[in-house]
Assembly symmetry: C2
Homo-oligomer: 345 residues x 2
DNA sequence: TTGTATGCGTTATCAT
DNA sequence: ATGATAACGCATACAA
């Protein structure tokens, strides 16, 4: 037996009315008599009637659903962001369709095509770390697909953005290490062409500059796949640690980079923070247990998800010109560990 | 400007053909002349034509989408499971709509109604820890909605399940603690009426029995919200630690419970494993860094997601009787820490 | 106040 | 080999 939902037609037949009368009664139209209305609503309720959203979509040319493209769901930052997106979407009666780019350009593009063809009303996009060219995105945007770029940003005229103040976040993280007495701080970041990377590196160098520490280009490592591939981070660490003047601390500029730098240190038996200082961007749930070795820059993932979904849905539902909407910048949080809070492992 | 996709009608008009000819040409029907076919396909490709899945759904009475209900997306176990679900769905041309129950019965029920009304072809469900009664689920199932229950299981006649061998997992975890020399092992689990709970507790008691350790009911704590609420775990720990004969080790039966037991120990400055042994079910990405204090039972979340999605889609696409499909049991993994691999924190 | 007809995009059935 | 028409479920312009 196939699952069959009750339709307006069924109600009409059962009550000896026409479908339009039923439709109008259910939408509480003024043209319908109270008695009929009541009868229809009672029957609908009794039989658990729900309008078929597919038929509605076809008619209204909108699906009340928004698409989300992230690099990977199983990444705390994004699962928290999706959580935020979901909460807003739920409130406003939208549903969420999720697609993953897995940090690959082709997958990102096909996800984009897929969502467009699924008739989503709009798209929330955090680009993959391999996306150096935004043409495929701009093309869809120019065809009229509403979009909001969040976290890993797309940059072209008109597109709306929800972001954190990455410069400040990286600046504060670096400053924290400097204040702890580290003198030769390296930085591992994602792809060099991404805004989140250039901004975080900018914050890093700004802090070094402010505290009169030398800025060495061989102390900055860029990771092609944004940390998805462990080996790439290990290789970067190898390069850094094999320098003549090897760094005494690391600024790890993403969730995955942070985790894998810690793994590297564990494998190589490098003591954090005695042999190597570390501060990382991280949203993992357990980071608070890794005190006092790890101070983290926490990205407000949930809040970003909410802000991005809120902005997109406002754009969708407003008649105002799209240019009237403003980008959103959300502050990140530096979580400093107190050594006295140490868990004895 | 609103995003408008190209339709068969547009192609027909542009090429001076009828919609049915275009439709047939695109589906490579034998009745269409090669020239026409070629012309249509070329035009479609050039203009990036994609069939409108909404119209298709309305016609076919199927949406090529499956619904997933989990307690929370931002929980590593579920985000990994969703990852697995997504991978299978992608392969087979389905899309995934996700809903969260937040461990609340009403939210679970409304998610169920929502997905049914969204015309999903089937549902993957991990029940909330507050679901002691399956009537709302069975009702939908009996109306013909294909379902697969995974992880937190639903149990009624006919429903298909994808699960881990919880008894074995908990047995091995407990055995591990016993082998380390712990003599008074307590157990913190989720709601008492859930199969995952009863099975894990069964594995726990079986191990104690096997090694001739006393089984004390006040050494078993049940958490109403499955660990979503930190206080509930703290209270359980308080009760355990305030007993006259307080336990020397804990078996934590879920991801959230494990994390929060660790947090509790950190706050109370309880040394793991010197003052208190701990083994927990955990899927967090960072657990491998918490050596050697924490051996974990790792749930094969990704594999479960894949197995569940695979089973559901096979059920959807097969003409065979639903009873012919078999439940899937997936083994969990015990990850024992080697003290020599200690990260110096 | 209610009913009839149309269209959203697609395919299947029936013409031609 | 191609075209016209109906149907999926719904909302609505138009008729009565």
């Amino acid at each position: 037996m196939r699952f069959e939902a009750i339709t307006i037609k069924d109600i009409a037949k059962a009550l000896g009315l026409s479908t339009s009368t039923v439709s109008r009664a259910l939408r509480d139209s003024y043209e319908i008599s109270p008695e009929t209305k009541q009868k229809v609503i009672a029957y609908a309720k009794e039989n658990n009637y729900r309008p078929n959203p597919i038929a509605l979509s076809l008619k209204e040319k909108r699906s009340s659903s928004i698409g989300v493209i992230v690099s990977e769901i199983a990444n705390s930052f994004f699962s928290q962001a999706i959580n935020g997106i979901e909460s807003i979407a739920n409130e406003k009666g939208y549903n969420v369709i999720i697609a993953q780019s897995k940090e690959e350009l082709e997958r990102e593009d096909s996800a984009l095509q897929y969502l467009a063809s699924r008739s989503v009303d709009g798209i929330l996009l955090s680009v993959s770390s391999r996306t150096s060219n935004f043409d495929h995105i701009k093309k869809l945007y120019d065809r009229g697909m509403p979009m909001v770029s969040f976290d890993c940003l797309v940059d072209f005229e008109g597109i709306h953005k929800v972001m954190v103040d990455n410069i400040k976040a990286a600046y504060e993280g670096t400053e924290h290490l400097i204040n702890k007495g580290f003198k030769n701080i390296a930085c591992i970041a994602s792809s060099s062409f991404l805004s989140i990377t250039t901004e975080r590196v900018k914050g890093y160098t700004a802090a070094l500059h402010k505290y009169n520490q030398p800025i060495q280009t061989n102390n900055i490592e860029y990771i092609p796949h944004g940390g998805l591939i462990q080996e790439e981070i290990y290789e970067a660490m190898d390069r850094l640690m094999n320098q003549k003047e090897k760094p005494d601390a690391i600024l790890a500029c993403s969730d995955r980079i942070t985790t894998n730098v810690m793994r590297y240190c564990q494998n190589k038996k490098i003591n954090i923070p005695k042999q190597l200082g570390l501060i990382g961007f991280s949203n993992l749930d357990l980071t608070d247990l890794l005190t006092p070795s790890l101070s983290v820059v926490r990205q407000p993932a949930y809040e970003m998800g909410r802000a991005a979904a809120d902005l997109l849905i406002k754009m969708l539902e407003s008649k105002r010109a799209i240019t009237e909407f403003e980008n959103v910048v959300i502050p990140s949080t530096l979580i400093e560990r107190d050594s006295s809070m140490q868990i004895k492992l």
